[in-house]
Structure formats: C-alpha cells, structure tokens
Subunit: 381 residues, 2 copies
C-alpha cells in the first residue's frame, strides 16, 4: 500500500471525503453533453446540499437549479441562487413558504399532478397577487407520480392554473426506472421515453390552447445517455456530481469517477470468519443497498485504501449501526489482505445521496491547493 495521505491523518473516522478533482470532471462532463444536445442544464442540488458544491455545479451562476425540499430552496436562495425548481409534488401547507421565497426575489417554481393541488396553488397565487409558476408532472415510466401525457386532466389542470391566477410554465418528468437500465443503449431508450412523454404532454397542453414554454426531463442515467432531445428545453440530474456504485453498476460511470467516499478505521478482526471490522456502519454509510439487485452486489460499499485505490474483491459485506464488516466477495480467489487494527480505509458508497445525508460536512481534497478543507452540509425540510 502506498504511504498514507497525510491530509487525512487528523480526521476523526468515520467521515466523508470528497475529491474535488473528480467532482469537477463529473460536472464538466454533463455540462458538455447538455450543451451538445442544445438544452439548458438544471442541476439537482439535493445530492450535495452544500453551498460550496452548488457554486461549482452552477459555475458560480444563480441557476437554474433543482431542489427536493423547501429548506434547500431557502438555503440556496440565501446564497444567491435565484432560479429554482422545487421538484416534489407541492403540499398545500407549503405554499406559504413558496410565496415567501418568491417575495424575497426567488423565481421558485413548483410541480403538481392533480386538480386539488392546482386549486390550492391558484388560491395562493391570487391571495399573494403572484402568478406562482407551475410545471405539471408527467409519468413517463410508472415510477411514482405524474399524469400520462394524454390524460385529459392535463388540460383541466392547466386551465385551473391559468384561469386561477397561477402560471402554467410547462411539464416535467423523471424516469426513475432508468436506474435499473444497464448500459448506454437501455438508458438512451429511457431518455427517449422521457422525451416523448413530455413532448406529447406539451402537445396536449398546446392543443388545448395553453402555453408550455418549459419541457423538462432528467435523471442521471438518461441525462448522460440522451442522444436527441428534440422538443425538450431543459435537462435535470443530481447524483452525477459525485456518482456512486449504483451508477457504476449500470455503466454510467466507473469506480474511478466516484468523488465521494467514507474514511474509516479498522477496529477488529474475526479471522475464522474472514471478517475485518471497521468503524463505518450504516450510520456512516446509510442503509442504502442500491446494488443488491445489480449484477455485482457491492454490499454496503467497495473498499479502497486510504488513498482511494480499490482493494480488489473487498466489500463492506454487512453493517450494524457503528460497525461495518469487511469481507471478500464470495467469488474472490485471493486471501484476505492484512489490514491491522488502526488501518484507515475509504469506502465507495452505493448511493451518494443517501451516504452524504448521514453527515454534516465534507472533508474536501481541494484541486488547486491540494489542501483539505471542510465544507458544511445541511439537511432538514
């Protein structure tokens, strides 16, 4: 094993390590692809939940951005980001906060898929004398919410919004099922499914005499795989900033592209069972087992040395609250490496959003200075 990275020695384990060089490469990759496709990129900031990361994802600009909670909208607006889509179906009780953010100068839009929500938004828009912008959610793959592109409710909802004092800004979809599509061709098929669903929905609205300026698609797999986005105006993606084992498992990236890891320390051994115990359990890694049904089940994560180099066939096979159990894969044809008590390792996460959410800060390996810097991370709703 090469000499330990001296930047990490003062850190208390377990903790998050973020490699800024890899992150910037990931950010650049999708920015170029969106430019090639001729669409606006509206990055999802829910993965990082960090102002420092948001500034790099948005290249210092004020948006456009996507968020998954109003707490994110509030923090990022405070930090100067002013064009934000809140991409979780709006609950009527949350409209006060939406109106307050818009009064403070944030161009915040919301999503919905029912008359009840549309009526609540229209009521709030009239009461505030503010045409709250709305995207109608379209179901492109049966993954969770949204209306089918040919649903007559689409025009009915659009009319409620327009006539009620809100603003129908467009349509959006998210092919969550694309996370199960292996390889670029399968993901490109999902990208086309997203594109067609929202393009058809936009046609439905326009056919009913309604405006539909924004046509928004995206998930990390489809955003990278999309080959043609005719009729689409913007692309959303989130986890691509860090990438993770789920994305590597379906071929969107390789393990070398994963910018996030958890630093951990060996605390014990059970040699007869082939186990190495570390101080990163599910409290540090999350309970996410997103690779469980992939061709390579990575347990609770792939094990690297302290410098981030993958140790072949070694995974976190099990996790208790503050204990991780490292073991060789069942198929491995090699001995367990000698990793004495006190050895520091890095674990690549199954799902970067979930692992990052277990921590309140990133320990960042900075690109320019090479120094280690702490970036805060927030949570909550």
């Amino acid at each position: 094993m090469p000499p330990t990275d001296s930047r990490l020695t003062e850190l208390t384990t377990p903790c998050l390590i973020l490699d800024e060089r890899i992150m910037l490469r990931n950010i650049d990759r999708l920015a170029r692809h969106a430019a090639d496709l001729g669409v606006t990129l509206r990055p999802h900031l829910k993965t990082g939940k960090s102002v420092d990361i948001a500034r790099r994802v948005l290249s210092g600009g004020t948006g456009p951005a996507t968020v998954s909670t109003l707490a994110e909208a509030e923090v990022f607006h405070e930090a100067g980001i002013s064009d934000i889509l809140y991409a979780v179906g709006i609950a009527p009780q949350k409209l006060d906060r939406v109106v307050a953010l818009r009064r403070a100068g944030c161009d915040l839009s919301v999503i919905l898929d029912s008359r009840a929500q549309a009526e609540a938004v229209a009521d709030a828009a009239r009461a505030a004398a503010d045409p709250i912008p709305v995207l109608i959610e379209i179901d492109s793959d049966g993954h969770r919410g949204g209306l089918r592109p040919d649903d007559p409710e689409l025009a009915a909802i659009g009319t409620i919004l327009r006539d009620g004092g809100a603003a129908l800004r467009g349509v959006m979809t998210h092919a969550g099922e694309s996370y199960g599509a292996v390889g670029a061709d399968a993901q490109a098929a999902f990208a086309e499914q997203e594109r067609k669903a929202v393009a058809d929905a936009a046609d439905t609205l326009r056919g009913a005499g309604l405006d539909c300026p924004v046509v928004s698609v995206g998930s990390t797999p489809t955003a990278h795989a999309a080959r043609d986005l005719t009729g689409v105006t913007e692309l959303r993606a989130g986890v691509y900033v860090f990438f993770d084992l789920v994305m590597a498992g379906i071929g969107v990236c390789t393990t070398d592209d994963i910018a996030l890891s958890v630093l951990t320390t060996v605390i014990g051994h059970q040699p007869e069972r082939g186990w190495i115990m570390v101080d990163a359990g599910w409290m540090a890694m999350s309970r996410d087992r997103g690779t469980a049904n992939q061709a390579s089940d990575q347990g609770y994560g792939v094990v690297c040395d302290e410098n981030g180099t993958v140790l072949p066939d070694l995974i976190v096979a099990n996790a208790n609250q503050e204990h991780g159990t490292i073991a060789l894969r069942a198929c491995a044809d090699r001995p367990l490496p000698d990793l004495p008590v006190g050895t520091r390792l890095r674990i690549l996460p199954n799902h970067a959003c979930a692992t990052a959410a277990q921590h309140d800060r990133y320990n960042v390996l900075r690109v320019e200075s090479g120094a280690l810097e702490e970036w805060p991370r927030f949570g909550g709703w």
Copy 2:
C-alpha cells in the same frame, strides 16, 4: 377519522413526532425488569442522541450509560453524565479523545477484543498516567466482534492491560442475533446465551488471576426476555426507549408501544395503481428495511392517522428520496382509504435508531402540559 391534533398543524412535514407518554412507559418497563433481575441498567443513549431524552432515561442521574460514538460521550458528559461506556471497539487514533474526556472527569470505559488494541490502550494509559478502564468484548452469537469465552487470548489481553497500566474492568457482550428471535422464549434463550458467555469469560479471566468486576450483557430483545442473570452485573439496551416495528415484529412490544413516528403530508395519488404519495421518503424514514424478512414485511413503515391510530393494512410500500408510496398490503381485503391531498399522516418506523438519525430534532408531545416542544438531536462522530 377524529379531528386533527391541533398541536401538529404548524409543523413542516416530514418531521419526527415523539410521544413522551409512551416513551416514559417504555423506560419504566425496562427499569422495573432490571430491578427485578437484580442488575444495574446501563441504557444505550445512541437511539435518542438527545440530552432531553437521556435525562428521562437516566431519571435525572449521571449514569450509568452506554454510547456508540465519542461525540455522544462528549455531548452527554457536557450535560452532566459521568459514567459512560463507549461500546464500539476502540481505534488507537481515538484514545486522545478518551483521555481528554477522562481528564475532564468522565468515568469513560472502552471495549476491545485484540492484543493490538490492548497494547494501544496500555500505551495511552501509561502516557496519561490514567488507568483507562476496559471491558473485553465477548462473542456470544457470531454476530460481529468479540472473543469466544474460552479463548486463551482473553487472559493474554487482560494481562497486557493490567501490566501495561490500564484497568481491566470486565467483560461485555451483545447478542445482535436476538433481533431475529421471535417470541419471549426464543429471546430468553438468547439472553441465557449472553449470560453464559460472559459468565464463562469472567471465569476464564478470574481463573488466570485477573479481576473482572463488571459483567455486562444486553440487547433490547434479551434485556426484556431475560429470566435469570446470575453472574451478570449490568444490562444494556437502547431502542426500547422508542421501540419500533422490528421490535413489534418479534413480539417485544406492540405497535401501541412505539413512541416515535414521522409526520407526513399526502401530495398525490395514482388511483389505478392503488398508490398514495406522501412527502416522507427514505430521507425522512431512512432506508432501513428491518422488517423485510419478518413474518409481516412493513415496507418502509406502518401508516397511522394524524393522531397516531394505525390505519389497517396500510404501509409505505416504497420510498424514493423525498417521496413515499403508500399502498395496501397485498393480502388486504378492503378498499384504499380516501386520503385527499393535504391529509397529514404518521408513519411508524421499522428501526427507530435509523429513522431518528435522519432528523435534527424531535417534536415532542409532552406528558404534563400536553404541549408540543422541540428537543434537539445531534449526530456526528
């Protein structure tokens, strides 16, 4: 459905609700059982990670208590708790913080199961001129760490500690496998397995001329099921303060005993699929699927009305980051209830430790005043 609980209307969803009345009943139940068994109860504070909860669990006292991170030890010592066991195998790099806490007046003890750890602790004890107290971890069920009760390493490690300047305080075990034991008899068998393992280990140490004043056992299932703890001096348990669906699934409690829930709001419907969408996804519930292999798989949680009454056969069947999908159990012979957009519900968690860890505060339904109060919760390491 009865009228909504007016205390909850100002809360932003998703958020944690803690019913103090149920919690105090749970705390009292195990305190009585420990007293009946004639052992000291050393509650595990990792579930709550809250000073307000710790004060109730310890009945206002200064300990004894168990923690799972040094951050917990530091926060709880600052709050006046002075007798603390750090129950995760000690990493050599963490001994500076252990020594600092002990210098500040905390009777902090650590656990280990190897010569390498014992030598590191002895070195730190000598350097600090402080006999750091140590419990040797015993493996009673093959769950993770620890030495078998008859392992010759036990006496070797005890000798390294004693002769090196540390203090051998005793032995401890945790039958994590008891979480899979259904019913009081099966759990009592695990309790006896824990008891025998540490009693035998204490005999091994004493036979080698070493002291072993503390003999510590515990897990929530075995703590409640134990019938005789001859040879044991103390009992540990953690999740019993809140209980959860995993504990209900193996019969340690009922759903009426679960003190913790997540308040959520209905944000949409997919009537053709029988889905109700809410704003509590895995970010609010955690990814814990601890009931997946139980007789009743509860998905991501059991659905209650806003007042905490279980809605029959309704579970959170799936969870995305900020979306929960509520559906009827496959076997349910009833229609989906009518829960319009904006309806507030409460979700009982699979695993209280994991769900609580997703939040930074408890919204507490207070016993005496009946008011709602915010108690902070901390995380980190």
